[in-house]
């Protein structure tokens, strides 16, 4: 039963999303720390889109059919375990004369969002775990 839980999509998704939230926290912290650094360009973490794509059972995309093991992958299905968060640096926006594109208001909003997301994930995980706890303890 517990193995079933630890290999469930919900558990893996929560674990990976928590990792992504920790990485995002670091990225936002770095953006805020560099708010006055000339030429600094902000970065952001992309995880949810890639994970959603991996979760889709029937992707509405053109998928390449392989007839040989040497063929390239074309939108082939990725395993949810192998999805990793990626960090992107945004180079195309200019908001200040010193070539820095950190908008402190955006970063603070992202920070609040990330914290809420992190708390929500843990809350969800705890709820699921307390269900199992009830089963183990035999409480109704």
């Amino acid at each position: 039963m517990l193995n079933q839980f630890f290999s469930s999509v919900q558990y893996i998704a929560t674990r990976k999303a928590l990792d992504a939230a920790a990485l995002r926290q670091k990225t936002i912290s770095n953006n805020i720390a560099n708010v006055d650094t000339p030429h600094y360009k902000r970065s952001e973490v992309n995880f949810e889109d890639a994970f959603k794509q991996a979760l889709e059972k029937n992707p509405r995309r053109l998928v390449g059919f392989k007839t040989d093991h040497q063929h390239f992958d074309i939108n082939s299905h990725t395993d949810i375990n192998s999805v990793q968060p990626t960090i992107w640096r945004q180079n195309d926006t200019f908001s200040r004369a010193d070539d820095n594109n950190v908008d402190i208001d955006v970063e603070m909003a992202e920070l609040a969002k990330n914290q809420l997301m992190f708390n929500a994930l843990i809350e969800g995980l705890n709820r699921k775990m307390s269900e199992y706890k009830k089963v183990i303890k035999g409480q109704g």
Binding site: A22, N30, H39, W88
Partner: protein
């Protein structure tokens, strides 16, 4: 993945605190010395400013021959900010006509520091706001770490 844990994000914010505090100290020194006409190295006081740089070199330097990508994938989010150097503002000193002053030149002009108090005050607000933003970021990371301790409770 310890290098990107919540604790290292506190380190990144702490580097921001250090940098902004140093900037604040320099501003305080600049304002205090707004009328200082004598220094150990001779001449009037020179306005000091901190030069910030990203700790891991993620800064984009623009090269005219390089096509600019809109987004670049990176391996590492960066470790905050560092102060490269404290440099002296090379702009010319303010000259004021005060013939009776002991530091006046032959024409009667005294070279005062190139410190503009209004500019310093604006910089001070900017530094203190940035400091507060880093504090908020640390508190947020701290709350996340605390919340993570409640997993499975």
């Amino acid at each position: 993945m310890y290098t990107n844990s919540i604790f290292t994000s506190i380190d990144a914010s702490a580097s921001g605190l250090t940098a902004q505090r140093l900037r604040m100290d320099l501003i305080a020194g600049n304002i205090a010395n707004v009328d200082t006409t004598r220094t150990p190295e001779g001449g009037p006081f020179k306005r000091q400013l901190a030069v910030f740089a990203s700790k891991t070199d993620l800064t984009m330097r623009k090269f005219p021959f390089m096509p600019m990508k809109i987004k670049t994938e990176m391996q590492h989010p960066g470790d905050g900010v560092k102060v490269l150097e404290v440099m002296k503002d090379p702009s010319a000193p303010r000259l004021r006509y005060e013939p009776g002053h002991p530091d006046a030149n032959n024409e009667g002009y005294v070279a005062y520091p190139n410190v503009d108090v209004v500019k310093e005050m604006v910089d001070m607000i900017s530094a203190s706001r940035a400091y507060e933003a880093n504090i908020t970021s640390i508190n947020s990371a701290k709350n996340m770490a605390l919340k993570a301790m409640s997993i499975g409770k």
